[in-house]
């Protein structure tokens, strides 16, 4: 049991810190949270800076600990988060790296790393959310193409994406987990229509995507035909892995500002509120330790695909994040009803954390069945 970093890791941290101190002041002003084209340009610009400085690979090739340090330091310095690069960098990219052919890696990975192309995730459908394998979007083989028809929903960043990691049904007769295929679909292909959806926070963060006879080359298939469910499990484990590290660091900072605000307006004298803040401090410290634990285990087992530790973490974290912004709202008082106040939009967006990337109910099933070995229900 040891929380010390190696000299090489500390050196990496020091170099990164030094670079961040120079790089961040050179960033253009942050676009408004609702300006998606602006956010795309901003997030890709940041990725390009990382690329030029030699940090673009960190999500893929670096050791889990180095990646932890990267996420910790960038967040602490107030650097941009992956943003529009999320799907490309954190799950489509790693999936292609693990499952793609050399040609596919050559085609798709460098533009992701250089901040030139944005990916989105076309998994969920109107009638297939938690029961993802119930998806119905069809793909029929026609010569060298798949012809895809159907619709996807809740597709984050679809408005500004170049590529979509798309799940389609290629064998309607097979059992539902068997007939699925993983495709890389260009969003510019004829027959792709994106209709933005408005979130409860008022932003068009995600969209509905309609697919009408869209031709996707067979060469864009990652993994074998009808083997898409296995590839999907690889993708999802990346999604739930260390994706939240930076956010835990951010939450700890928010918690400190909430406490400071409570002190400044006298609410600190309320023992009930103070004790809730203290408990949240314990919560986020523990979540940080749990992250270190998961990273250390991943490192010991040779890195690779993250394990179910991610589900345990996501469950606890998503609820803690909501509790944090609820306490923040109590500190704001009537101000919590004002969208212009800090934390109010975050409070709204935190509501998605127990839903997106697998709901809490689904995560509990995963923990119970895959970690504790309880029987599957009927």
């Amino acid at each position: 049991m040891d929380l010390a970093y190696t000299p090489e890791e500390e050196e990496f941290r020091a170099r990164l810190r030094e670079w961040l101190a120079k790089a961040l002041p050179a960033l253009p002003p942050k676009p408004s949270p609702r300006d998606w084209p602006g956010r795309r340009a901003y997030d890709l610009g940041w990725q390009r800076m990382l690329y030029d400085a030699g940090y673009a690979h960190v999500h893929w090739d670096a050791s889990p600990t180095t990646r932890l340090i990267f996420l910790e330091e960038t967040e602490t310095a107030g650097a941009p988060y992956v943003g529009a690069g999320f799907v490309g960098l954190l799950h489509a990219g790693p999936t292609i790296a693990a499952e793609g052919t050399p040609g596919q890696r050559e085609r798709w990975l460098p533009p992701i790393l250089r901040g030139e192309e944005v990916w989105c995730q076309g998994f969920s459908e109107p009638d297939a959310g938690s029961d993802l394998a119930a998806l119905r979007t069809r793909a029929r083989r026609d010569g060298d193409d798949y012809v895809v028809t159907g619709s996807k929903i809740w597709t984050s960043h679809a408005e500004v994406a170049d590529w979509c990691e798309l799940l389609v049904r290629t064998d309607p007769a097979a059992p539902k987990h068997r007939g699925i295929t993983w495709l890389a679909m260009p969003m510019s292909a004829p027959g792709v229509e994106v209709r933005p959806l408005r979130t409860l926070a008022g932003s068009t963060e995600f969209a509905e995507v309609f697919l009408d006879e869209v031709r996707v080359p067979v060469a864009n298939r990652v993994g074998a035909e009808n083997d898409g469910w296995r590839v999907t499990m690889v993708t999802l484990s990346f999604e739930r892995g260390t994706a939240f590290v930076g956010e835990v660091v951010a939450c700890r900072r928010v918690l400190r500002s909430v406490a400071a605000a409570a002190r400044d307006d006298g609410r600190w004298d309320d023992a009930v509120l103070r004790r809730r803040l203290g408990r949240l401090n314990a919560e986020f410290r523990a979540l940080w330790r749990l992250t270190q634990w998961n990273v250390s285990e991943a490192e010991a087992s040779g890195g690779g695909v993250p394990g179910v530790g991610g589900s345990v973490f996501k469950l606890r974290y998503s609820h803690a994040r909501q509790e944090l912004y609820d306490v923040a709202a109590d500190v704001l008082g009537a101000g919590s009803l004002d969208l212009e106040q800090p934390w109010v939009l975050d409070r709204l967006s935190s509501l998605s954390y127990t839903i997106a990337a697998g709901t809490s109910q689904i995560q509990r099933n995963i923990v119970a069945e895959r970690v504790l070995g309880l029987p599957k229900g009927r």
């Binding site: 918690l255 400071a260 103070r274 203290g278 314990a282 749990l290 634990w293 345990v312 119970a368 504790l372």
Partner: protein, 290 residues
């Protein structure tokens, strides 16, 4: 960063688990409940195994290990509901003669004015004058209360070792619940196939694993704020875990025969020790303004 257990630590934990299984297995626990006396022979055996002298420097005749190792053996003790003033005697090793070897049983007047195992102790640290015996809710932990004792600061190591014992209970409660959920059948299937039961078990694991990360990290840093966080999460994981375990056992969980109530009651006793609850929360709140 090698946060996971080293091979030496795994071996230490396995040895402690083996000793406790041999000397304090299910049947012994039952017998102890009917006749709650401190087993002096077992106490000396713990002493010989280094349980009390674990952190005493080798130069002073101790084992010379650190807090992480102490946390691991206290977690094992917590798992099996090992009775006795374990934390007090461990803390006294190296200062109170006989404590390190398990010859002496040492009780402490806790920061909150409670004393566990007062009558069995050879040495009592703190002022226990006027102590009044309570009819202890935990059949395996006699408790006295010292009227008028003023709450005082508690040694962070005591707070952490209590958290480690709670972690043992949290882990054990989850195991017991899962074992029962896999085997007990209703409506033609194991109750563990029902989502309501499954989700209780999953939450038990989530609380226990979060507490584990916090407790182990606090053992590494020995930082009082980390320790306070660990204690809060471990108390919660133990108390709620034992309650959920009881629920999963149904009517059987409400019986004296079933081991579950012993875990819940011990978790309650430990939660009342100084340095938990409000004290930890206040410490952690103040840390936010630092």
């Amino acid at each position: 960063m090698r946060f996971q257990l080293t091979s030496d630590q795994l071996a230490l934990r396995a040895a402690m688990r083996e000793l406790l299984a041999r000397r304090f297995g299910g049947a012994v626990l039952r017998a102890a409940v009917d006749d709650p006396r401190l087993d002096r022979a077992l106490w000396r055996e713990l002493g010989a195994a280094g349980f009390f002298a674990l952190r005493v420097p080798e130069a002073d005749g101790g084992v010379g290990l650190g807090l992480p190792e102490a946390v691991l053996v206290f977690e094992e003790a917590g798992r099996v509901l090992l009775p006795g003033p374990l934390v007090a005697t461990h803390l006294a090793a190296g200062t109170v003669p006989g404590a390190a070897s398990g010859e002496a049983v040492v009780a402490d007047v806790d920061g909150g004015g409670l004393v566990e195992w007062l009558d069995a102790a050879d040495v009592v640290r703190g002022d226990a004058a006027g102590a009044v015996a309570l009819t202890s809710v935990d059949p395996l932990t006699p408790v006295h209360r010292v009227p008028g004792a003023r709450a005082r600061a508690v040694d962070p190591v005591a707070v952490l070792l209590t958290a480690a014992e709670q972690l043992g209970t949290a882990t054990r409660a989850c195991e017991l619940a899962v074992q029962h959920a896999r085997t007990r059948e209703q409506f033609g299937q194991p109750i563990g196939a029902f989502q309501a039961v499954k989700h209780l078990c999953a939450q038990m694991l989530v609380r226990a694993e979060t507490a584990r990360a916090a407790v182990y990290a606090a053992a590494v840093t020995a930082d009082p704020v980390d320790i306070a966080a660990a204690r809060l999460l471990a108390d919660e994981a133990a108390e709620r875990g034992a309650r959920d375990c009881l629920q999963v056992h149904g009517g059987m969980g409400f019986t004296w025969e079933c081991e579950v109530h012993l875990h819940l009651k011990r978790a309650w006793v430990r939660s009342r020790r100084g340095g938990g609850g409000a004290e930890s929360e206040e410490l952690l709140a103040v840390d936010l303004l630092a």
